[in-house]
Symmetry: D2
Subunit: 423 residues, 4 copies
């Protein structure tokens, strides 16, 4: 394949240097359907990226699209802040019926502004207000967002440096397996908490991802998550699960924490909750925590009704009938794992290791440059794949949950070829 | 009119207590067109609120709607983070041609995540990074957003208290006319800056709204803005104009600061930039400030292409032909002002005062309860109006820029009646 | 007079660059008596500096010296932390009888560590604990100390920069006459407090000096101090008077705030409280504020008993008989003022202005270099004088309260000559 | 022995509730000599407390006393800020000759204000200024002082809570043996530093005590200290040893870090440096770190010349002749250890454990109440002993270095009896 340099001039001359994805994928994309994306020349790409997890149901999913077009055509209200609307009511009712009630959750639902970082900011504010303490514990290699509150609990040093102010009130603890199993789980954390002289400011809350997507597809074991939930309960800290990237079925069940059998005090959702890649986010919390003043956290785009419409359609289509979506995701996951196992076996000297669950997988190389070269080669071969991890050492697989077995196989074969061709 | 309590149960039982607008307007809205909103029973409301400034072109504007439906129907890519897309390119090109170039601005364009608070966070980060200082000066009764960085430069004490941590690195200065003209402009601010013993941490930047929307429709005089721009230049501080609510033609010209003849170092835009009430925001800055690392500030929904499509259509439709939009807005403003003048004259004992520019107006009462009652009565009479100001003492008029003279007159008459009936 | 460069080598080679006074006064001092200091060559200096206010009773005051020697000779306990000792009891009883009771003050007495900054840290901690708020208001050109808590309410930008962390939780307000009388007292401060949208974090306390010594001998009018006390009372803020430099009779009465007729909630004392230049400090507060936990603020040298002994002797000698000390100080002040008036009249083009009260006076020049040259010339002529103010533009007179009229006259004449010879 | 309640009324009625030691030792002390303290009734106490380490040379040491009296009698200058004085020069020269040079240290000497917390504040400021970073790593159960900068790196939660503001810019790491040897030294710390995604703000410095006195006599192994010094060097962090309590010979050598063979970048000294319990402190640092501006950190009582005099006398008397003081201290330590070993063997069910070095020892009980009862009983038997540790679970032995073997034996026997009688 020959790549013709696309006409990117306005991106290079007018858009800020902060732009990022467009650098790794030098193409101008135009349209998309399911797991296929097309650039303006009609060149086709298979998508193993899925909007960083915002497109779990594929691009322009036809069922959701129909609902959206109908709504827009009939002049359904588009923008409503937190006014009551019929579209919002429909979403709330379906979310309660399809998601919350079947899981025994009586959480309240907050619309905090339609971005993940906003959902995290709301979660942190509420936890601090409820407990009357400033400190929040996060984990190594966590990613929670770019606004100052969320950034303070995010690990990446380059992004932290961007704050321009010292990031405070957060303390990192080791994520599961961070110290390679050489230290008992929570030994350090619990010791700090029990010791009145430890110097740790007593935390209001702990915020955690069950699988760290940006951090390198670091998978917390269910027993580790249960241990953390237990620690939070015993030590009077709220447990916040940031399920923005791993929720909405990415790991199999709707919430990624279901496998561990825990119920967090606060949950953040965004990315795929809108279903169609539309900006939307939620902060869920136990009803006894709902001590907000009216309007104490607000934002203009909280009521993005087109997203409510596609979100409702997604819940109806994929989650109303129980566990079939979860089963399919796990099955696809097995398909992915098998190929990843083969790849690692084929390249023992690369130090390649894989890990994941459901339809989120990481393929780590000892040499970070290798992961980057694999993604670049995959792009040439028509596959969209990004790296993650603190040094970009992990190839991250995030196909749509709606991907067909054939498409999945095609992508995995392209990945295997890319690994081979970058040896 | 009799108001039947709407079936709001799921809002009351499931949605968080943080909900706000739905409390003042007990209706379930369903569809909307132009300046008209309809509840689920088909009851019609005239909209003098416009999504808090996010719907400058009216609800479901037919031109924008056509462009949006076409895009969605042809499976134009919906979600793209900061990948290059044809829709984004079209927007960038039109924004440059229609907005930046004619105003002699060579600012770079950043897509910081599609909410106003995100645009402000990016602006503050960049200013701090460029200057290597933490402190930012804001103004009394400023409103810049709810995430921690933006909240620290926001005035409202209830919202600040929601942070749960002390808000630092910001210092408030008096907005124009804050001290009733008893103190020369910038006397205090400049004295602090020139005095090496003042105790003011040297600011990286000043962030200002030209008209404070949430703060009570406080209008800065052009000469005050020029004085501020001059002070920033002389004292090595970046000038950030937060044009989220007042930009996109709200005050007449595309940017609200044009009347003052100043060009800020950094500008934030959101709300109506997407045109259709779709989440979108921009941070603009002089090219020499563009020292971002790739990906140093990111976010999942930066590339919400449907908003690019409607944004482009709005620029084409309303701003490509020069000043006609501005002229129309100023003319409508005169129409509004005339009625507000009458109202104030009619109710001398209420202490009513009005102020505004273009199509943003405030009607202040000595008794804050009066403003609230006026809005409640207006709602009964089918007019959507909200209050603003630190004590909710100001009735805020924010009709769509596309409102017809007849609709505007109708709303103003309803307002006048509401004032009369709450005396 | 020819100045022979003293053998300062170890100061230059071993002592840190942070050293300061030794640079302006290139001499190695050896002994002192009353208002006279002698260098190692026996050269005599008249002291108008008095240890920056720590030597109000002169150097090695014979009455205090006798008490100290007796105590040391009989092996009175020297170091006791906050154990009870007979020396401490004697001090507490005398302080109560001679200082507190006659002034109707029922303040509790805390020994917070024997430095001024420690007294201020304790005051700020207690105020924050009592009010449950972080923010403290200080004033332009305030000086309260060098540890992080005190430094955050200190104005000098060079010293603030030394912190190495952003100094937060403090907000400067204009000191009396800061804006040259162009703004009504407290107009800005009160407006910020009354406005729920001002953005000022509600302060726990206000900390103020009645005369700013380091800040340039800025004298607050009694009515300004009363206005401030009234504002604190009305707005639920504690009033802290930092009387470290101006207390112990410097302005006439024992406490510098007595003239204004106010009683602060919290008072800090240090410098001359020990009487003999011995490290000692006190934090006084209304009994209802005494919510400290035992040991919540501690420090090794709180119980420096030699200082208790000299402090008690100073109270007995100078303050037990009522107002004679105050009268003498005010009389000496008139003597100083008369000469300062002459000096200013004699040098109209220098822009010289004087201000002060009791035995603290400042002589300000338009050209900061002039003040510095005056002090340098005075040193050559055998007079110790330092500058103060944000640009070092003020010659600061701080003779011992025990200075004789003849010595005072001698020093004032030397000052006049120094001004003349630096024209 | 019958304890008559002493006449403590003024302490209870006038002194703040913050007072602490006087509660555990209900006596009014009057005079002292060597290791003996006498209350006002002439009752004698043997001192195993030594002013919390400020009286290493005993109370009112006759050699130091003679030097002090001579100085005071001849009107040697008492108070001099950082002016050059003959007493200061003598101290600097002796400190260089006796302490620094023989140890190969070319550190600069700073007089930061005569309290330990001030020395720590200066050290932290300088480290932050040199490295341009805010964050400092401290250790669990550290104690560094009560002013805000020092308190932020102190572990005790009660004392931290006293700050009234969130304490930030510090992160605790596990002190040696904190996790009972279950985790390799510095595994966690180094992992955080090497991982660009860990979320740890890159520290400017590490501050450590070689033996944590307030923290419970926690003794760092020499190899742990060497590992820490190595880590600091490799990871570009300054190493600050806070030797305020353990320096001046407490552990044997003059500096407590000598045994480990390390040379810190910055050292703080206070407590016994003045020799006679007089307020004094030093901050030492490598010459290349001496980037202070003149006066950037100051304080009124930096130049407490009587302390220079006794400090010089102490250096001359105890440290000028090489290692004899060290040898004697280690010998006394063996004497103490032998008895502590016996005590632990005698009370196996108490869980008693001992640890220490030189003349600092801790005797820990499983039941914190036991340690407190032991000290109370010892007081009744005429022995001054305090507890330390986060729960007060450790009896702390801190006899004067000048204690005789007989006195030491007497105290140890009283301790043994107190343990026995509280079983």
């Amino acid at each position: 394949m020959t790549i013709t340099p696309p006409a990117t001039s306005v991106f290079e001359t007018l858009e800020s240097e902060v732009r990022s994805y467009c650098r790794g994928w030098p193409a101008v994309f135009d349209r998309a359907q399911g797991s296929r994306v097309f650039n303006e020349d009609g060149h086709e790409y298979l998508d193993f990226f899925s909007g960083a997890g915002a497109l779990n149901y594929g691009h322009n999913n036809p069922v959701l699209k129909r609902a959206l077009l109908d709504y827009l055509e009939r002049d359904g209200i588009t923008h409503s802040l937190d006014m009551s609307t019929t579209a919002k009511r429909a979403f709330l009712e379906r979310f309660q019926d399809v998601v919350l009630r079947p899981r025994g959750m009586d959480h309240k639902v907050m619309f905090p502004g339609p971005t993940g970082t906003n959902a995290v900011e709301a979660a942190l504010k509420l936890a601090r207000k409820v407990k009357g303490r400033e400190s929040v514990v996060s984990f190594t290699n966590a990613f929670h967002g770019m606004s100052l509150g969320a950034l303070a609990v995010t690990g990446n040093s380059m992004k932290r440096a961007g704050a321009g102010v010292p990031l405070v009130h957060g303390t990192p603890m080791p994520f599961d397996n961070y110290l390679d199993g050489r230290v008992p789980d929570f030994l350090w954390f619990e010791r700090l908490l029990e010791d009145q002289g430890s110097g740790l400011n007593q935390p209001a809350a702990v915020i955690v991802e069950t699988i760290q997507g940006e951090g390198g597809i670091n998978v917390a074991r269910p027993e580790w998550l249960r241990g953390l939930a237990d620690l939070c309960r015993r030590r009077d800290m709220l447990l916040i699960v940031d399920d923005i990237q791993m929720g909405c079925g990415r790991t199999g069940p709707f919430f990624s924490f279901e496998e561990a059998g825990i119920v967090p005090d606060i949950v953040t959702l965004s990315k795929s909750i809108g279903g169609y890649g539309m900006p939307m986010s939620l902060t869920l919390f136990r009803p006894e925590l709902d001590i907000w003043e009216p309007g104490e956290h607000n934002g203009t785009f909280r009521g993005h009704n087109p997203a409510f419409v596609t979100a409702t359609a997604a819940l109806d289509t994929y989650w109303a009938d129980g566990a079939s979506m979860e089963k399919q995701t796990l099955k696809r996951g097995e398909q992915a794992e098998a190929v990843l196992r083969e790849i690692c076996a084929e390249h023992p000297r690369s130090g390649a290791r894989y890990r994941g669950r459901g339809l989120v997988w990481g393929l780590e190389f000892t040499d970070p440059g290798r992961a980057s070269r694999v993604c670049a080669r995959a792009f040439e071969l028509g596959l969209l794949l990004e790296t993650s991890g603190p040094r970009g050492e992990v190839v991250k697989l995030l196909p749509a949950l709606t991907i067909t077995p054939e498409e999945l196989d095609e992508g995995l074969r392209t990945l295997a070829r890319s690994v081979r061709e970058t040896a």
